[in-house]
């Protein structure tokens, strides 16, 4: 179990991104933050990550589009854990269908759970 995982946080909500960044960093992980899907894809072009924490509802390019693009690309994509407040079954199904490793409802998931999950990847 490595604790120095490189995590890309894709989150438009600054407080949430900050909270995740703080928590993961405090756990010894390396984090990058993308404010939207485009930034996420930009970062992915130049960097490699161990995990992507992906939000869905974002401006410019949302999480679905990111998943779609990554799903369609031939590149190796790190495991994507979707952190979203969308809890509709259709959303969940779609997210999983597009290759996300897992899906968590942010409001119902403690940070500790997320950290533990990432650690276990």
């Amino acid at each position: 179990m490595k604790n120095d995982k490189k995590v890309l946080i894709v989150e438009d909500e600054r407080p949430l991104a900050h909270a995740l960044e703080m928590k993961l960093t405090s756990e010894g992980m390396m984090t990058s933050v993308a404010r939207n899907g485009e930034e996420c894809l930009e970062l992915l072009k130049e960097n490699t990550y161990d995990v992507i924490l992906l939000d869905m509802m974002m401006p410019v390019m949302d999480g679905f589009q990111v998943l779609q693009k990554l799903h369609n690309s031939n590149k190796d994509v790190p495991p994507i854990v979707v952190l979203s407040n969308l809890s509709m079954r259709e959303d969940e199904e779609r997210i999983l269908a597009l290759g996300a490793k897992d899906y968590f409802v942010k409001a119902e998931t403690p940070l500790a759970k997320i950290v533990e999950y990432i650690k276990n990847i």
Binding site: M57, D91, A107
Partner: protein, 1090 residues
């Protein structure tokens, strides 16, 4: 069926007059236009207008413009019926659609073919047809009306002519003015009537009324003539022109004739009365009673004729004929005179049965002719036979008398042979010649001496000298009585003697005897005495013995000088007479005894012989039959003849009863013919009547059936209209197809949605018109309709769109259902669908709202969660106990808030149907473990005991993972929440007996908590329910609602038992579907497992 979206259907009917002369009728809906709008705003009833046009001899035409679908054809039919009955001759129909076309049969039937009807697509053509080429149309009804009189007239004319030919004047009585008119008049009458009728038909210039008028005038003239003849006398000139001379046949019928004539005169006047338009009150008062009286007379005449009430055939003939004539006149009057219900009814019946009546009359006529003909032949035969008998009798009588005379001549010859004949010689001669024996009835032969008064004494002396033993009478021979006469005829000798009086009797003293002898003396010829009493000279005998004698004078020297030539010479030479006496009774008896035996025995015939001179009856065959001779009726044959021999004159009468001498059988022939004929008449009439009735019944039946059908149709149309109205008013699109998938119903909404009109769509294969596609594809969705046609109700796929005529795609939803006929067979399918564009939009917006809400609410919640979590975790430095406690409160409240949002979202989604069951395999044990982990913090914080009893044999159950999770989570959360610290919560998962052949599991969550107050138990599944006893505690009030809704979505059911402060037990029973296809684990569960 057409469903037109037509909001303007209303009842409408407008009638206007158009120049030149037709009625424009515009109809729509249930209209009944009866008023014509004339020029200048005047109004007149259609009825009157038609009447007016007819009185002007104009063709009544109508333009029927059907503006809108006449809602039921029965309305239009009624229009046409009413107008047709009023005499509209032409109807042009514009605005034809199929409803109207379906009326054609009605039109034709109702209008009785006299009304022409044509359909036009535009008014111009219709008006053109209406206003031009108005050729005359003969009214069929009139034709029919005259059918019976014509047939009856022909039948009567036949009877009359037949009667004329067989010379039976009774038969000619069939014509009006019965006993008097001759066939010539009958033929004249018939020809005139027929000519006028033909003239009327061909040229149509004359009113039909004159067909009646001519006979009426003839009736009047003839009746006046009859009356004139009666007043003036029977042999006026007009008789020869108009009447036959058979008046003597009806010697006693003069009264009848006058009565008939007066009646005829009245009828003639009445008949002609309406013709000159004097339809006055008195016509009704006088004519109709008379009419009914005469119709009654007809019935009585026929009945009495049948019963043989009349002893004279002719009278019943007359009565019958008069009555038939009256019927004819009545019949004619029916068409021109005022109409009364009873007359109308009677005459309609006659008209309806004219065929039967005509057949009856013809049969009856033929029967009468046959009867009368055979009757006349029988009479003829009888007369011939009687005549033959008469001749025989006459001949016999003549020859008998002649024989007497012959005998007399031979005796004279004997006397002439010698100048003196002695008594004995005379006696010998008589004896030897057998004269008496050979001539029956001859009683004696006598010698009479001619004397003058001066010679009497010498003669007496001489005769007395001849007295002998053989003739002792001569001793006292004396001529007696002697009167002043200058000649004396003394009976000198008679053989046999003493029969015809005493010798010496002076025959001159008896007038008849004297006359005969004197006549013989003077003429020298044989003379007859006429009837005398042979006993007259025998004083001692007072019995009358009728007889007669022939006498012949004896002259002297006749053998040498010949018979004297002059009277003077005869008187000179006369010396005596030979008399032959005979008894009439014996003579006639002998004569008739020589006739055929059957005549003598037959009491059908009588013979009466009279002495012509005295007219005394000298002989009757049957003594009590004399009265017959006096009878002047024509029933008996009476023959009279005279016989005269030697001045003896006899009248011979032979009276025979009718049909005398006709062989049995032949005698009954006329009666047999009459009865047979009447029976045949009855049979023929009844048969024809039956046939026509049957035909009528068939026609009536057909009419009724048509009516029923049309009623049914009307009812069906009514229903259809209702359905149409319902379907039109439905906002949903409705269309129906038959089993051939052809569209039969296409309602306005369907028209709107599809862009096709009903006219375009109906009858088309539905897939050529309505394209239902799976959304986002080009594939047609035909499954749901196919399913409906197989008899199952079916729904469209949610993502179905309708491709409209102009290529748009409209999202639609709904269902198809089979149409079953009365027998439960599938006769098509009905599809109801609606435009769900707006629904979809609304749904989307709701979806969006839910998504946004969940997202937007949860985002700050997440931040609060995470930061509180980090603070509590000491990530921002160590906290004081107070700080930590406060942060925990924040954290828990936030968690509640999160849960609340989750519950609200769940509720919303359940309500929106977004949480429909999507069965998947759910490992129930994993699920419970996962949930238990989630609940752990609460369990531990409240020091609860959590018991888990999982006995189900199913590893996986097939149900919706999210729903079952929701259910168990809520139940557990509830139980933990509403159970005090250190309480116990038990979760059981057990198999339960199969229900409806499906496996079920039962999830039980039991606590020993606060329980639900009994009064509130019924409400626990409602939204926002919170039990009174736990109001202080946290809770959303949505948990149980979610449990119940989710359970129902999974096809399960939830029950509970609860007691306040004892605990609550919830039991959720859900079906376990077996499906080993795929296994998807609970994702969140997975996470915790790892």
């Amino acid at each position: 069926m057409i469903f037109k979206k037509n909001k303007h259907i209303h009842s409408y009917g407008k009638v206007t007059l158009e120049e030149p002369g037709f009625i424009r009728l515009e109809v729509a809906g249930h209209s009944s236009a009866k008023i014509v709008e004339g020029p200048n705003g005047t109004t007149i009833k259609v009825n009157k207008y038609i009447k007016y046009l007819k009185s002007e001899h104009k063709t009544v035409s109508m333009l029927m413009n059907v503006k809108k679908v006449v809602s039921t054809d029965s309305v239009a039919r009624n229009h046409v019926m009413t107008l047709g009955k009023r005499g509209v001759e032409r109807i042009a129909v514009v605005g034809v659609n199929r409803f109207i076309r379906s009326l054609v049969p009605y039109f034709l039937r109702v209008l009785n073919k006299t009304t022409e009807i044509k359909f036009f697509s535009n008014e111009e053509d219709a008006i053109k047809w209406l206003t031009t080429e108005k050729e005359l149309i003969l009214e069929t009804q009139d034709k029919q009306s005259y059918t019976f009189p014509i047939y009856a007239s022909i039948a009567l004319a036949l009877v009359v002519l037949a009667g004329w030919m067989v010379d039976r004047k009774e038969l000619t009585a069939f014509i009006a003015m019965a006993p008097s008119m001759n066939p010539f008049a009958a033929i004249l009458l018939g020809t005139l009537s027929a000519s006028l009728f033909v003239y009327h038909i061909i040229l149509k210039k004359q009113s039909t009324e004159w067909i009646v008028g001519v006979p009426a005038i003839l009736v009047i003239v003839s009746s006046i003539a009859v009356l004139a003849r009666y007043v003036v006398g029977f042999d006026t000139h007009i008789d020869q022109l108009l009447f036959t001379g058979h008046v003597e046949i009806y010697q006693d019928s003069a009264r009848i004739k006058v009565g008939t004539a007066i009646g005829m005169l009245i009828i003639g006047l009445l008949t002609i009365n309406p013709l000159v338009s004097i339809k006055n009150k008195w016509t009704n008062l006088l004519f109709y009673p008379l009419l009914y009286g005469l119709q009654l007379a007809l019935v009585l005449a026929i009945v009495s004729y049948g019963l043989g009430v009349f002893d004279e055939n002719t009278r019943s003939f007359i009565a019958f004929a008069d009555a038939v004539d009256l019927i004819l006149i009545t019949y004619s009057l029916y068409f021109i005179g005022p109409k009364f219900p009873i007359t109308t009814r009677i005459l309609k019946a006659t008209q309806r049965e004219w065929a039967a009546i005509s057949v009856g009359i013809i049969f009856f006529g033929v029967t009468c002719v046959g009867w009368q003909y055979t009757n006349s032949r029988v009479r003829e035969y009888s007369q011939l036979k009687t005549e033959a008998q008469f001749r025989t009798i006459q001949t016999n009588l003549d020859s008998r008398l002649t024989e007497y005379v012959e005998s007399l001549h031979s005796i004279r010859g004997f006397f002439y042979a010698s100048d003196t004949v002695s008594v004995s010689e005379f006696k010998d001669y008589i004896d030897n010649s057998h004269i008496i024996k050979n001539n029956p009835g001859l009683s004696s032969i006598a010698f009479i001496t001619y004397l003058t008064p001066e010679k009497v004494s010498a003669h007496e002396k001489h005769i007395r000298s001849l007295a002998s033993s053989e003739y002792p009478e001569y001793k006292a021979y004396k001529v007696f009585p002697l009167d002043s006469a200058n000649h004396i005829y003394s009976l000198t000798y008679s053989e046999p003697k003493n029969i015809n009086g005493v010798f010496g009797y002076n025959l001159a003293s008896s007038q008849k005897r004297n006359t005969a002898l004197t006549a013989a003396l003077k003429s020298g010829k044989v003379q007859a005495s006429g009837t005398i009493d042979l006993n007259e000279s025998q004083y001692r005998n007072n019995n009358t013995l009728l007889g007669s004698f022939f006498t012949v004078p004896l002259y002297r020297h006749s053998s040498t000088q010949g018979d004297p030539k002059t009277q003077l010479e005869r008187e000179e030479r006369i010396y005596g007479f030979i008399n032959i006496y005979f008894r009439q009774d014996i003579m006639f008896k002998e004569i008739f005894s020589r006739l055929p035996r059957e005549i003598m025995k037959d009491d059908q015939i009588n013979v009466i012989v009279r002495d012509s001179t005295t007219n005394e009856v000298v002989y009757t065959k049957q003594k009590d039959f004399t009265a017959l001779e006096q009878y002047t009726g024509d029933a008996n044959t009476i023959l009279r003849g005279k016989s005269e021999v030697a001045g003896s004159k006899w009248d011979v009468s032979v009276i025979a009863q009718p049909a005398y001498g006709v062989p049995e059988g032949a005698k009954e022939l006329p009666l047999v013919i009459l009865i047979t004929g009447l029976v045949l008449t009855a049979i023929a009439t009844v048969t024809v009547l039956g046939l026509s009735r049957r035909r009528e019944q068939a026609v009536e039946l057909a009419r009724q059936m048509t009516e029923d059908l049309s009623e049914e149709r009307n009812a069906a149309v009514e229903n259809q209209k209702k359905e149409e109205a319902i379907l039109s008013s439905i906002g949903d699109a409705v269309f129906a197809i038959d089993t051939d998938q052809k569209i039969v119903v296409f309602n306005p909404t369907t028209e709107q949605l599809s862009g096709y009109t009903a006219d375009e769509a109906i009858g088309q294969f539905y897939r050529n018109v309505l394209h239902f596609l799976y959304e986002g594809t080009e594939t047609e969705n035909v499954d749901f309709i196919g399913e409906a046609l197989r008899g199952n109700e079916a729904s469209m796929n949610d993502q179905t769109v309708l491709l409209t005529k102009d290529g748009k795609q409209i999202p639609v939803a709904d269902s198809a259902a089979p149409i079953l006929d009365g027998d439960g067979n599938i006769s098509g399918a009905i599809v109801v669908f609606r435009d769900v564009t707006e629904e979809r939009a609304l749904e989307r917006s709701k979806d969006e709202f839910v998504s946004v809400a969940s997202h937007q609410l949860r985002t700050p919640l997440s931040a609060m969660n995470w930061y509180t979590e980090m603070l509590l975790n000491g990530d921002a430095g160590k906290l004081t106990p107070d700080q930590e406690n406060y942060l925990k409160e924040i954290y828990m409240s936030n968690k509640r808030m999160t849960e609340l949002v989750g519950s609200l979202l769940d509720t919303s989604r359940l309500d929106l149907g977004k949480l429909d069951s999507k069965p998947d395999h759910v490992d129930i044990r994993n699920l419970i473990t996962s949930l238990k982990l989630e609940m752990n913090p609460m369990i531990s914080s409240k020091q609860m005991t959590f018991k888990e009893v999982i006995t189900t044999k199913h590893k996986n159950i097939c149900t919706d993972p999210r729903l079952i999770r929701m259910v168990i989570q809520n139940l557990l959360s509830n139980a933990l929440k509403y159970t005090p610290k250190e309480g116990t919560v038990t979760l059981k998962v057990e198999d339960v007996p199969h229900k409806d052949h499906k496996a079920h599991v039962e999830i039980t969550v039991q606590d020993n908590g606060y329980g639900i107050p009994a009064a509130q138990q019924s409400k626990i599944f409602s939204k926002m329910f919170r039990a009174d006893n736990v109001l202080e505690m946290e809770g959303t009030g949505l948990g149980m609602y979610i449990v119940r809704e989710a359970t129902h979505k999974m096809g399960g059911e939830v029950t509970f038992t609860s007691e306040e402060n004892v605990g609550t037990t919830f039991k959720v029973r859900i079906p376990v579907g077996y499906n080993k296809a795929k296994h998807t684990s609970d994702h969140r569960g997975d996470m915790h497992e790892k």
